[in-house]
């Protein structure tokens, strides 16, 4: 059974929709993204843009492990994982970015 030690981000599933950041009661998820025009479109198709994730961070010093973000993500981009978020010497070091949040 998967433990509740930390939360991992499955980056390729994330659409930068902001839902988790808005639902998180502790305000500990920070997301930056930008929009890009989709290039390989069939000829004649209307130009389309998509969101590209630049930054996704969870501040483990604020997170209360409620799991709301995991439940709310409509794209299954957040999952519980057994390993615990590693302790750190400073509060700022407890903010984990995309590489730290990727599945182990």
């Amino acid at each position: 059974m998967t433990g509740h030690g930390s939360i991992v981000l499955i980056e390729q599933n994330c659409t930068s929709c902001m839902i988790c950041a808005r639902e998180c009661p502790s305000w500990c998820i920070t997301i930056d993204s930008h929009t890009e025009t989709v290039v390989d479109q069939p000829a004649g198709a209307r130009a389309r843009t998509e969101n590209v994730l630049d930054r996704f961070a969870i501040d483990w010093s604020l997170c209360m492990f409620c799991g709301i973000c995991v439940d709310e993500c409509p794209f299954d981009a957040l999952e519980w994982a057994t390993p615990q978020a590693l302790p750190a010497r400073t509060l700022t070091a407890l903010t984990h970015e995309i590489p730290d949040l990727s599945a182990h």
């Binding site: 930068s16 950041a21 808005r22 500990c28 930008h34 969101n51």
Partner: protein
């Protein structure tokens, strides 16, 4: 809970104490809990609920009583003369919802003596949440929220038309209006 559905028996406020007493005399002599909810937006009342149990049958027989306390006169008889332990729950409900329990223990339980307001009333604005940056304020595709266009507000902070940047020529918003706009989400432009 023991898995069964409880339905509350609605009791008029002036019969609250006697109804609790009656239930105890019927054998529901174990006090489980007392709680309060804010009914604003549906009715101008707070709902106080108590759950009592009959331990003789493994604690499975329960009686739930509830009463609607008017918002403009939030006073209810204390039941701590019947169940001493209820006093603790009443203190919590009193400070969190701004109720008064006649004959109850008037001391605060959790909040500091200097705290003003009743934090679980739904019209209670979480002012400090308006003053700091909310990570959810950005739109997808943004890396900085533009402060001039505040389109999303966090739960607990009303629309700015209601609170914060309200037209000073208007009277302060009614509690129900504040409560209705503190759910968080997209700011709805009000039609005037």
């Amino acid at each position: 809970m023991s898995g069964q559905l409880l339905s509350a028996e609605d009791v008029p406020t002036d019969r609250w104490l006697s109804s609790v007493q009656h239930a105890r005399d019927l054998g529901f002599d174990y006090f489980d809990w007392l709680g309060c909810t804010d009914d604003i937006g549906r009715t101008d009342t707070f709902r106080v609920t108590v759950v009592l149990r009959d331990l003789a049958d493994g604690g499975l027989r329960t009686r739930m009583l509830s009463t609607a306390v008017p918002r403009d006169e939030p006073v209810l008889d204390s039941i701590r003369t019947v169940f001493v332990g209820a006093g603790w729950h009443e203190r919590e409900a009193a400070e969190l919802f701004g109720l008064r329990f006649t004959g109850g223990d008037g001391r605060r339980l959790l909040l500091s003596p200097t705290f003003e307001g009743a934090p679980l009333r739904k019209e209670q604005v979480l002012g400090s949440r308006a003053a700091v940056g909310w990570p959810g304020a950005k739109e997808p595709g943004e890396s900085a929220a533009s402060p001039s266009r505040r389109r999303m507000v966090p739960p607990g902070v009303p629309d700015r038309d209601v609170w914060g940047e309200r037209d000073s020529a208007q009277p302060p918003a009614e509690p129900a209006e504040v409560a209705a706009s503190t759910g968080g989400g997209r700011v709805r432009r009000r039609s005037r």
